[in-house]
Amino acid sequence: MSVLTERINEIIKPENLVYAKSPLLNDDAMHYCPGCSHGVVHRLIAEVIEEMGIQEQTIGVSPVGCAVFAYNYIDIDWAEAAHGRAPAVATGIKRVMPEKYVFSYQGDGDLAAIGTAETLHAINRGENIVMIFINNAIYGMTGGQMAPTTLIGQITATTPNGRNADLNGYPLKITELIAQLPGAAYVTRQSVQTPAAVRKAKKAIRKAFEIQAKKIGTSFVEVVSTCSSGWKLTPVASNKWMEENMFPQYPLGDLKDSGRADADLYRIKG
């Protein structure tokens, strides 16, 4: 045993432990790139499920995109959905097992481009599910193409000269749209680039899961995220780019926290 290993083993003792990996996270090496936000958000979801003691009652729905393999990392039952269809799959699971906790986990292309209809209608029905939305303004899995949330001027594989509004339209602020829907109970935008932000994001995810038990509508947690490979920046530079460019377009904070709307507001007269 080397001196270093001896020293490490001295340090790694239960009484010195201030933080531990959730037992819901397995030991498989994640396929995510260095600096990617997915791993942190996965950890937060695992911690929330563990702390709430709902591992046996929770079913996750993974998307198409980088997080397609989310089911490899968190030790719960999963359904892997077709591209954009996670909210429909989650709806199906929740409707036939209303006592379970169901959450979907999607990226921006999945949730806000190909799956826009499924996203808006699941929330408009007030499905009692949690939706986690990773917005990194790019298609990571397919090699860095334009996403619905790509910023104007942002260079991607399919906007090599930067996103041009005349040609490609505008960044879609789908979370603002969702906050207008009567079925949404809780809509918030978070990030995970600093320890403080991670703690806030975890609180938001925990709150979203707790709301599910109250059956007062859909909880939606956007996490403004980095994609250092897609952005072609170092992890550190990615965080800075996100703070400088993403946050002004996608400001952090709660957008709605009032529960599902009162149906009487929409009732026919007479």
Partner: protein, 360 residues
């Protein structure tokens, strides 16, 4: 004897679903099958059996809701008509890949495109050759009566769980809109959680307990060798269906010189044609495939050495005729007669086609 009623084909789909203990229906309106969901919404099964009924925002959403709920080991279904089934092709392929049981009803209308709302059988190839991407097969049942619309919902769920495979009931606008006497099964309870555990406990997403591994519903596999094994497992399953599940009806074939092959409402018409032809002294029989996949190829091959010819009668441009030709393998003459665009031929028209094709 069960309760007797006079019912429309579409309505009986809903009634049979409730009575056989179905857990959920997810659908989207489209002519000529909208009565399925309308009937369910009127009957309100969620108050009695607890069956969930949900109108989705599209056929795409419907089939993926079915995917999610089927993954949980529940007995769930959807129904649609031709253009809607095209939209569902994605989800059906995913369900076949993830080996999920469900019942899908296609009350066919004419195509291509928006086509017509009148009856058709032009989705035969789509139903029996896949329809979506990838190598897969559905278990396809072709009802020819309102009674069979009822019976095949029950049988469909049985087959879906026996083989962990999507089942399609390939009906058409005639059977969907037709009113006939039907004998209904008595109400059966939905499966309890304990029954689901017993039946699907080794794969369904019912929540991971400490005494088992997590369950993942997916059709994805990145390793080519493993993926090929998955494909081979699917093909072995389809071959088991071919060995064990072929269903057909044979009418007056024993002494026949000519055999018509027709499914669904086309078979109803051909039954009358058999009578007309025999009154004229022509020995005609009818084979009615009840399962379109697996196709009754053995019985057709057996008769191929005995008859002077087969006539495939279809409400399309000639799709099933290719499966008959494969079964006959050149041993006798195979002809096709059909109408398209929503036109339903008369028995006399079919009889005339027989005469013309075989120069009687």
């Amino acid at each position: 004897m069960g309760e007797l009623r006079l019912m429309k084909g579409n309505e009986v789909i809903a009634e049979a679903a409730i009575r056989c203990g179905c857990d959920g229906y997810f659908g989207y309106p489209i002519t000529p099958q909208s009565e399925v969901m309308e009937t369910l919404m009127t009957l309100r099964p969620w108050e009695d059996s607890g069956m969930v009924v949900l109108q989705a925002e599209s056929e795409i959403a419907s089939i993926h809701m079915v995917y999610g709920a089927a993954g949980a080991g529940k007995r769930v279904m959807t129904s649609s008509s031709s253009p809607g089934i095209s939209l569902m092709a994605e989800g059906i392929s995913y369900m076949a890949g993830a080996e999920l049981p469900c019942v899908i009803v296609n009350v066919q209308r004419g195509g291509p495109g928006l086509g017509t709302i009148q009856p058709s059988q032009a989705d035969y190839n789509q139903a029996t050759k896949g329809g979506g991407h990838g190598d897969y097969s559905l278990f396809v049942l072709a009802p020819a009566s309102v009674q069979e619309m009822h019976d095949f919902v029950v049988l469909g769920f049985e087959m879906a769980f026996k083989y962990r495979n999507p089942v399609m009931i390939l009906a058409d606008g005639v059977i969907g809109q037709l009113m006939e006497k039907v004998e209904l099964i008595d109400q059966r309870p939905r499966w309890t959680n304990e029954q689901i555990e017993e039946i699907s406990g080794d794969w369904a997403t019912t929540g991971k307990r400490s005494n088992r591994q997590k369950h993942v519903i997916t059709s994805l596999e990145m390793d080519s060798n493993t993926m090929e094994q998955n494909n081979l497992r699917l093909q072995a399953k389809y071959n088991r269906m071919k060995d064990e599940e072929v269903r057909y009806e044979s009418i007056e074939c024993e002494d026949a010189d000519y055999i018509m092959v027709a499914f669904g409402s086309a078979a109803r018409i051909c039954q009358k044609t058999v009578q007309i032809a025999r009154r004229k002294g022509v020995k005609v029989g009818l084979i009615r495939p009840i399962t379109l996949f697996p196709f009754p190829e053995k019985i057709i091959a057996e008769y191929a050495t005995k008859v002077k010819g087969f006539l495939s009668v279809e409400f399309n441009a000639g799709q099933m005729v290719n499966d008959i030709r494969l079964a006959v393998n050149g041993k006798t003459q195979v002809e096709y007669f059909g109408r398209m665009g929503g036109i339903v031929p008369t028995p006399d028209e079919v009889e005339l086609a027989l005469e013309q094709r075989f120069n009687n």
